[in-house]
């Protein structure tokens, strides 16, 4: 075990996967000699050579398009998109191609690949270095969407994603890159996709969250506990395919639900959680299903701390559904 930051765990996971499987390769903008703008790919070119870790021209369309062709022809590409905000030039390749290749060819061609990309706010990145796009991708049939919130999960889920037979969007909460640390096993291991992680047990209010919102929710839950409200905090980890049974069970267990994410609320991922509950277990609900989210505006810069859900806002929602 080593005590690593989340970004170190990602780096460690990449190395473990690349040592394990010679068909894996990493590419994207600045991932080579520079090691990535966040240093996620540091040391890879040195260890694995330029053929297995290299820089590409500035085209996300080309990065993802080439990855699909590699994946369809026997390699295991791990593509980096420098910020999720810059994934949109490749949206067509992801949505029209990677997501639909298996279906439209009856499995004759497939795209087992991972797209790693940092997402979310908290680094004073303004409109274009802060966005959270999970809802776009979770709404697209054929893609898997994974978001870790701890160093342990970051490494284990990343290796699982690389091993997965389907295209996986692996979203890394950049606000946590260096702000969380944790025990990470050495070498190769996986954390199963489509499993939830119970962060904290409690009988009063269920809080669903993922990524950089997990520590925010943990703090809010700790404060709530001081006034006797015990929260069941669930880290979704894999947003698609989601462990829906697990979500419904957790919702039923308290009858009071809050969902937290950074992305805009309208048609955000939290809406699906609410809808799923309202469709399947509404009779267990004892309070409105609350969402604490980013606002339905672009992401501001100077005022980002107002935009991002913080402990205050989460706690307020917990108290509200608890006292309802």
């Amino acid at each position: 075990m080593a005590n690593l930051t989340l970004i170190q765990a990602v780096n460690d996971g990449l190395k473990a996967a690349m040592r394990d499987d010679p068909t894996t390769l990493v590419f994207g903008e600045d991932v080579g000699p520079k090691g990535g703008v966040f240093l996620a790919t540091e040391g890879l070119t040195a260890e694995f050579g330029e053929e297995r870790c290299f820089d590409t021209p500035l085209s996300e369309d080309g990065i993802i398009g080439a990855a699909i062709g590699m994946a369809a022809n026997g390699l295991r590409p791990i593509a980096e998109i420098q910020f999720q905000d810059f994934i949109f030039p490749a949206f067509d390749q992801i949505v029209s191609e990677a997501a639909k290749l298996r279906y439209r060819s009856g499995g004759q061609y497939t795209a087992p690949m991972v797209i790693r990309t940092p997402y979310g706010g908290g680094i004073r990145g303004g409109l274009y270095h802060s966005q959270s796009g999970e809802a776009y991708f979770a709404h697209t049939p054929g893609l898997k969407v994974v978001i870790p919130s701890t160093p342990h999960d970051a490494k284990g889920l990343l290796i699982a994603a690389i091993n997965d037979p389907d295209p996986v969007l692996f979203m890394e909460p950049k606000a946590l890159y260096r702000s969380v640390k944790g025990e990470v096993p050495e070498g190769w291991y996986t954390v199963d996709l489509s499993t939830l992680r119970t962060v904290r047990e409690g009988d009063d209010v269920t809080v669903f969250c993922y990524g950089a919102m997990v520590p925010v929710v943990e703090r809010a839950a700790a404060t709530a506990a001081e006034s006797g409200i015990e929260c069941n905090v669930v880290d979704l980890r894999t947003l698609m395919p989601l462990d829906e049974e697990g979500v419904l069970e957790a919702a039923k267990s308290t009858g009071r639900v809050v969902t937290v994410h950074e992305a805009p609320r309208f048609c955000g991922y939290g809406a699906e959680i609410s809808a799923m509950i309202a469709e399947n277990v509404i009779e267990y609900m004892e309070a409105p299903i609350r969402r604490v989210t980013g606002f339905d505006t672009p992401f501001p810069n100077t005022l980002e701390h107002h935009y991002l859900p913080d402990e205050r806002r989460v706690l307020d929602a917990i108290e509200h559904v608890h006292s309802y």
Partner: protein
């Protein structure tokens, strides 16, 4: 070679323009001719099936047979084709059984893709890697680059061929694909079939450049323009480009100048925008006629042989179409399979609900909508 001048070996009647050595042996030449007739036969049957309301859609291929067959003939075993929807001539030449293609045209349960795609959106892995066609234009160029990179890192002597239209040169994928290919120096050949039109948009409104081949300059790769109705010329420039690729010298862009003699698709009425005199000009340059002329010049052609070929192709294709039409549609479960390798819970439940509803309320009725209306 000047990328703005089309390279050609035989004239409108198939007579050699000057002395040249033809890389194709007699039987290969005859085989190519057979494939061109096969394209025409397949095409005709599809048009009739569509007019008769028995399939929903097709894409005419008359006029562009020499480009497709000539290019396919230059490929070797192990090379991969990344085609667009108009490229079924390549599949036919590479020996894909017509009945498999008709399974797709009818979208039946024996279609490799379970009738999920529109007609002409083929996908084969055997006897040739003919990559799954998608409708969005130009997306497959970077796929070919990625596949070529896999050949390169595995030190395999194969090449990826990406084929697309003049309209495709405006797409994001053209730019990223050619750029990545040149920077990565991978074994890929880009074949732009300039057939004069992108639906109703003429080349003059597609680009301001002098030719499509010259676009290669923007990426630092050779750009060759070839007479796309001259199978020999297409075969020769393709072969050279493939050899360069195999030798590790990187990608080539080839523009094959040809002409779409039919509409864009069965939904299109080209009389609204195609000038009659241009059509006449190209009719005189008909690629089948030209290869026929050359075969005759080489003493390889008789009318009788061609008549027999046409008859046997018609019989084969008609039988294949009949067989495909008689097949059952895909099972309901195919709506949910192949989204992921294994069926996740939410799709299992959605599928169960379909069967449950069918039991309780009867089956869904097919709608009346038809492609583009």
């Amino acid at each position: 070679m000047d990328p703005n001048e089309a390279y050609s070996l035989i004239d409108a009647d198939g007579q050699p323009r000057s002395k040249f050595t033809c890389a194709l042996a007699d039987d290969e030449l005859k085989d190519c001719f057979r494939s061109m007739l096969a394209v025409r036969s397949f095409d005709d049957i599809c048009m009739k099936l569509q007019r008769g309301g028995r399939i929903g859609f097709s894409i005419p291929n008359r006029g562009v047979e020499a480009t497709q067959v000539g290019a396919a003939a230059a490929l070797r075993d192990g090379d991969h084709i990344f085609p667009s929807y108009r490229d079924f001539g390549m599949a036919l030449h590479k020996g894909v059984p017509p009945v498999e293609m008709f399974h797709n045209m009818f979208g039946n349960g024996r279609d490799a893709a379970q009738g999920r795609q529109m007609p002409v959106h083929f996908s084969f892995v055997d006897p040739v890697h003919f990559f799954s066609i998608s409708s969005p234009i130009g997306t497959h160029l970077p796929h070919a680059v990625g596949a070529a990179h896999a050949f390169k890192v595995r030190r395999e002597p194969h090449v990826a061929l990406a084929s697309f239209g003049d309209g495709g040169t405006s797409s994001n994928g053209f730019h990223s694909g050619l750029n990545f290919a040149a920077v990565m120096k991978v074994p890929v050949v880009f074949l732009c079939q300039n057939n004069g039109w992108a639906i109703s948009c003429p080349s003059s409104q597609q680009t301001g450049s002098e030719s499509y081949a010259i676009k290669a300059k923007a990426y630092g790769m050779p750009g060759i323009k070839v007479d796309g109705n001259d199978l020999l010329a297409v075969h020769e420039v393709m072969s050279e480009a493939l050899e360069r690729a195999r030798a590790g010298e990187g990608p080539t862009l080839i523009e094959a100048e040809t002409y779409r003699m039919g509409g864009h698709s069965t939904s299109d009425d080209p009389s609204k925008y195609v000038p009659k005199d241009v059509l006449d000009k190209w009719e005189a340059l008909d690629p089948v006629k030209r290869l026929r002329g050359y075969l005759e010049f080489r003493g390889l052609w008789t009318q009788e042989w061609e008549d027999e070929l046409v008859a046997s192709l018609l019989a084969e294709h008609a039988a294949a179409a009949k067989e495909a039409e008689a097949e059952a549609p895909p099972g309901l479960e195919t709506i949910f399979s192949d989204v992921f390798e294994s069926l996740p819970d939410h799709l299992r439940k959605q599928g169960e609900a379909v069967f449950d509803l069918a039991r309780r309320k009867g089956d869904a009725a097919a709608g009346e909508g038809a492609f583009p209306l």
